[in-house]
């Protein structure tokens, strides 16, 4: 399968602190990958670095996506190229109505440009699927939304933007059962409708039950220490990350 995302020898961090060390990761078009690891391992950082968050500097390595080198590109260019990041804590943007925001971000993409009427229909469709009440669409973007509502709005954007790669940064964390089921439905819909690739950053294996996982990666202290089949998830579920932390010790000693 052709590689959609190829990360080679990537090291990155904040100005005063290296976080990611020599990461190699490839994701093929339409594949589902899971990134696991203990708290503070650098999983979210990797998501942000792939998205192009200027808070982190890439000190070495490259990020190629869909045949383009994106290492030096801004988040906007990466988004337009087809990368989507669902944030752990989506920001609130006062005074910007959700609907007009959605319209704006879709209209700026030639492949999604459509008439106002068709767009309205599409939004109504997806909103219904995600159990988002119409009244949310006229509210200000994320302002005063609960954690679960914000995640649903992230999923709404995901399904409207139809990216080639979606990185879901703990989208499932802190959700009640109902919200969790909406989010997993959204992820399934994304897989089915858009045939998009997924990088799921999660602690929670529940959301993975209904997905066919192609590959699982384990991150410890900013290193990708192991990649393997879906069965790794069960192993982690049972035994935790102890073994991998040990593996890192061996790796750094080696």
């Amino acid at each position: 399968m052709s590689q959609l995302l190829s990360i080679t020898g990537l090291s990155a961090g904040t100005e005063d602190k290296p976080i990611l060390h020599d990461i190699d990761l490839t994701i093929g078009a339409g594949e589902t990958h899971v990134l696991m690891g203990p708290n503070g391992a650098g999983k979210s950082t990797l998501g942000h670095v792939i998205m192009g968050d200027p808070a982190y500097q890439v000190t070495s390595g490259t990020i190629a996506f869909d045949g383009q080198d994106l290492t030096e590109k801004g988040a906007d260019k990466r988004s337009l190229a087809g990368i989507f990041l669902s944030y752990q804590a989506p920001v609130e943007v006062p005074g910007v109505p959700l609907y007009s925001f959605l319209r704006t971000i879709c209209q700026m993409r030639p492949e999604l440009k459509t008439t106002a009427r068709k767009f309205r229909q599409r939004v109504a469709e997806v909103s219904e699927q995600l159990e988002i009440d119409d009244s949310f669409l006229t509210r200000e973007l994320n302002v005063g939304f609960s954690g679960g509502e914000k995640k649903k709005i992230e999923m709404l954007q995901l399904l409207l933007l139809r990216p080639k790669l979606a990185i879901l940064d703990e989208t499932d964390s802190g959700l009640d059962v109902d919200a969790l089921s909406v989010v997993s439905r959204a992820v399934e819909a994304y897989r089915a409708d858009c045939d998009g690739a997924l990088l799921m950053i999660t602690h929670n294996t529940r959301i993975l039950e209904r997905l066919t996982v192609d590959e699982t990666h384990v991150m410890v202290h900013g290193n990708l220490v192991e990649s393997g089949p879906a069965s790794l998830i069960d192993e982690i579920d049972e035994h935790g990350f102890g073994r991998f932390e040990g593996a890192l010790g061996e790796k750094s000693e080696a």
Partner: protein, 494 residues
């Protein structure tokens, strides 16, 4: 009824602009010596007292004569002129007005300095703005005060005819003064809310005022759509020292929109208008303004409203442009249960020092005032927000809330909030809150990761910040305000 052309009582409006405009080395219009007659008094030394700034009683007399004003108005002008010369410059308690060229005031009031008469005279940045706002050429010329402005006059004419059916009077102060029915009304109200002794520029205003609007809405009449002074100001080439006098009689309802949202360009750099608003028992007046002066302008404008029992005053005020602004619309809640709502936004960019705010005097019982303002500063722009809430001794149970939010777009800009409260009634409640913020990196990242460029992301946030004010504006003004913000923001990113 007088022909509409004849009602353009602005100074020299009927004079043909036959001479080519010229500018001196400082970029100011050179006033032609040959064709000047009526206003050319400063040249003659004999018999006239010469003031340093060249503004003489004879010029004032000439303005008055040109308008065929009643004697009392001339006397008022002359008294104001005296007052103007006697009064000291206001102490520098706000932005510096050092660059203000007071020596040029006699030229400001001359007809030739009013507005650019040739499209070539309009500064490039303003031409660009028109172009980028997508305003058609004909309208651009009219907005810049160039051209025949025929369309504007038609619109104004239609508006007048339409509201006249309900007994609403919408005309110039000059015309009202010539009308035996309305002259006594103007006389009763004119200059009573903003006295000439208020400050030096109020005195100047009363000495040389020209143009502006007179509106009277009879008892119980609701004017269905907003009256816009926009058309008239352009039609007359007025706007430098214009006087607005609005009387909304008992139980009546009016929305008045002042100015226009496109940059107004004048050779002269001083704007000292006066707005006097009288809201009678149970009436409502909404007064919306988007002021967007060219960036050499000293905008020293005075606006005041007096609100009677059970009446309501609403202000929506947007201040863009100008080099320096001193602008604090004042509301006097005289009657019991009267209310005031003030919504304002100020945008200060490079070279701008805008001192704006709002004053509310609550003197009636059970009066309420709500003030919500926003300020945006970028590229070293300075914003100062002053609020003054005065609660009188008899204002039992009066309530006032003031909220001021400031957004700074970089580290070189500045935003200050100076709230003042003078509460003399124990049962009154007054609250104030102020927040100053910046656009967070997280917000920019969030919007960029959905495809917006950095400039788009910033302008989205700023427009969102301004949204509560845009929402209060009629649609076309809201759109233009958003466009103005977008233009300013694009400028910021380069």
């Amino acid at each position: 009824m007088a022909d509409i052309k004849d009602t353009t009582a602005g100074l020299g409006a009927s004079q043909p602009a036959s001479t080519e405009p010229r500018v001196d080395e400082k970029g100011r219009s050179v006033v032609d010596d040959v064709n000047r007659s009526l206003y050319d008094f400063t040249k003659s030394e004999e018999g006239y007292e010469r003031y340093a700034d060249g503004l003489t009683p004879e010029i004032v007399r000439a303005i008055s004569a040109k308008k065929s004003e009643p004697e009392w108005m001339l006397e008022m002008r002359l008294k104001a002129l005296e007052t103007y010369h006697e009064m000291e410059m206001p102490a520098n308690w706000g932005p510096s007005i050092d660059g203000l060229d007071l020596n040029n005031i006699s030229t400001f009031v001359s007809p030739k300095a009013k507005q650019a008469r040739d499209w070539n005279d309009v500064p490039d940045d303003i031409k660009d703005t028109f172009e980028r706002l997508g305003i058609p050429q004909a309208e651009r010329e009219s907005l810049a005060g160039v051209g025949a402005q025929y369309d504007s006059e038609i619109v104004y004419h239609n508006m007048r005819e339409e509201v006249a059916k309900y007994g609403v009077v919408y005309t110039t102060i000059e015309d009202a003064l010539l009308d035996p029915e309305w002259e006594p009304v103007v006389r009763e109200y004119f200059g009573t809310l903003i006295p000439m002794l208020d400050h030096k520029f109020a005195a100047l205003h009363y000495a040389v005022w020209s143009g502006g609007s007179f509106v009277y809405v009879p008892k119980g009449v609701t004017v269905e759509y907003p009256l816009q002074s926009y058309f008239r100001l352009n039609a007359q080439g007025a706007g430098q020292f214009e006087h607005t006098l609005i009387i909304v009689d008992e139980g009546a309802d009016l929305h008045f929109i002042e100015g226009c949202s496109a940059p107004k360009y004048y050779d002269a750099n001083l704007h000292a208008g006066a707005v006097e608003l009288f809201v009678k028992d149970g009436a409502r007046l909404r007064y919306s303004t988007i002021e967007n002066w060219s960036k050499n302008m000293f905008n020293l404008n005075t606006k005041r409203a007096r609100v009677a029992s059970d009446a309501r005053m609403e202000w929506v005020s947007g201040s863009f442009g100008s080099h320096v602004s001193y602008l604090y619309p004042t509301t006097i809640l005289k009657g019991d249960r009267s209310t005031c709502d003030f919504t304002g936004i100020t945008f200060a960019g490079a070279t701008q020092d805008l001192d704006t705010g709002c004053k509310v005097v609550l003197s009636g019982a059970d009066t309420t005032a709500s003030v919500e303002t926003k300020s945006i500063s970028k590229d070293g722009g300075l914003n100062t927000f002053r609020s003054s809430i005065v609660v009188g001794r008899h204002a039992e149970r009066a309530r006032a809330t003031v909220s001021c939010q400031s957004l700074m777009l970089d580290d070189i800009s500045r935003s200050d909030t100076i709230p003042a409260m003078d509460v003399r009634c124990a049962t009154a409640q007054v609250g104030h809150e102020a927040t100053i913020g910046r656009i967070s990196d997280d917000t920019i990242l969030y919007l960029m990761s959905r495809g917006c460029s950095e400039a788009e992301a910033r302008s989205m946030v700023v427009n969102g910040f301004a949204n509560p004010v845009s929402k209060e504006l009629p649609l076309e003004y809201a759109v233009e305000m958003n466009n103005l913000i977008k233009l300013e923001m694009e400028g910021a990113i380069g």
